[in-house]
């Protein structure tokens, strides 16, 4: 049976559930949370960039280095279309990525 985790965002004001084999972006959109702009779902356009405040994730596809440098990824930034949770996660916005 697959695990499901709680993803919290906007300083605790919103949360949604995401399965371990689902991308955080797909789960967020399906549950209409976050109002995050989304684009290619392939790690190429960079629109779904957010900060991972806490929580482990598994990267299931490459993120374009034009949008997430190695240094940015090391300090917690990620493209939500490329990651699946490995535990409960807390996310915060990056300027310019909300409608």
């Amino acid at each position: 049976m697959r695990d499901t985790f709680v993803i919290t965002l906007n300083a605790g004001q919103e949360s949604f559930l995401c399965g371990e084999d689902d991308t955080v972006l797909a789960a967020m959109l399906r549950q209409r949370r976050g109002h995050l702009r989304c684009g290619c779902f392939g790690g190429g356009c960079g629109i779904c960039k957010m900060r991972i405040v806490s929580g482990a994730y598994h990267q299931i596809k490459p993120m374009s280095r034009a949008h997430i440098s190695e240094a940015e990824q090391a300090e917690g930034l990620a493209l939500l279309c490329c990651i699946a949770p490995r535990g409960d996660m807390v996310l915060s916005r990056v300027d310019g990525n909300y409608e």
């Binding site: 702009r37 989304c38 684009g39 290619c40 779902f41 392939g42 790690g43 190429g44 356009c45 629109i47 596809k61 490459p62 993120m63 374009s64 280095r65 034009a66 409608e99």
Partner: protein
């Protein structure tokens, strides 16, 4: 048909983040044929079934998605040299790429950067593909077209700064004309559609502050039925749809936009009017662009204008 010096956009090199997955899309879903691979395994050359030249699309494994360059075929070696001289006279520095350098089958190419930050190349000589369309009492295909049944690489929309200079370059040096334009309320160019043939566009530009961006790469399908077939392939394969199926009022094309697995936006497109250089130019006001792009809804889709690779 080329009316002018530049026959058509004949080659693009696209960066992909996941070569195997993205190649599967281009071959089995879009319907291109694999022609060859580089010895290091990092690049794959492809062509559509109805194209004659060696290949038209090269995928390169990279850490960023987007466009490496576009290359235009011109109509003779003499014209190639004349255009090269005109590129230099226009003020761009030329790099020479020797024959068979990194694109098998291609002769000498000249490369340069235009005002929008895009790398352009020109060439006149390219080998015919091993499998071309038939020419003697021809059937319509030799092997049944696959997937979306793309017939050719058709055009691209590029985003970058100073498209006014890019437009002037394409007209003055490439001999192209602009069947359609879009201007802001204060009269500045927001977008231009350019062609060297009677396709409504060989390429288009949108004014954008960041250089060298690509909005989409367009492939030609036969008709509206094939646009519906493409939509089915998008749905079955869980590709991310952007817009459509719909019609553009601009170019009159029937269209659908989506993203391939590495995040490059693809358009499959059919129809469109026949352009002629003597026809009056169609002009759009930017506040009507929603209707110009998405004729049926008449409404702009924000992600369409804002997201580029």
């Amino acid at each position: 048909m080329g009316f002018n010096k530049t026959l058509r956009p004949g080659l693009v090199q696209i960066r992909v983040l996941d070569l195997d997955k993205t190649l599967h899309f281009y071959k089995e879903i879009l319907g291109l044929n694999e022609v060859c691979r580089s010895s290091d395994g990092l690049r794959v050359c492809l062509k559509a079934y109805d194209e004659f030249d060696h290949h038209s699309v090269t995928l390169r494994l990279a850490s960023e998605a987007g466009l490496d360059y576009v290359a235009f075929k011109v109509n003779s070696p003499e014209e190639l040299e004349r255009i090269k001289d005109e590129v230099v006279a226009f003020g761009y520095r030329i790099d020479v790429i020797p024959p068979e350098y990194d694109q098998p089958g291609f002769g000498k190419r000249y490369a340069f950067t235009i005002s929008t930050g895009h790398r352009f190349q020109i060439y006149s000589d390219v080998k015919l593909a091993d499998q071309t369309p038939m020419i003697h009492n021809p059937d319509i295909w030799t092997e049944p077209p696959r997937g979306m049944r793309a017939t050719r690489m058709d055009h691209f929309l590029l985003y970058g700064p100073n498209i006014a200079e890019a437009e002037r370059f394409c007209k003055e040096v490439f001999g192209m004309y602009a069947p359609e334009v879009c201007n802001t309320v204060d009269g500045n160019r927001l977008a231009v559609w350019l062609t060297g043939s009677n396709k409504p566009h060989d390429l288009a530009f949108v004014e954008y502050p960041k250089p060298g961006k690509i909005h989409h790469l367009g492939f030609y399908l036969n008709d509206w039925t094939d646009i519906g077939n493409a939509a089915d392939w998008i749905a079955v394969n869980r590709l991310k749809l952007d817009v459509g199926p719909t019609r553009h009022a601009i170019t009159r094309g029937l269209t659908i936009y989506f993203w391939e697995p590495s995040g490059n936006r693809i358009e499959v497109y059919a129809g469109g009017y026949s352009a002629y250089p003597d026809h009056p130019q169609r002009v759009w006001d930017s506040d009507q662009l929603g209707r110009g792009l998405f004729y049926y809804s008449g409404e702009m889709v924000p992600s369409f204008l804002e997201i580029v690779t």
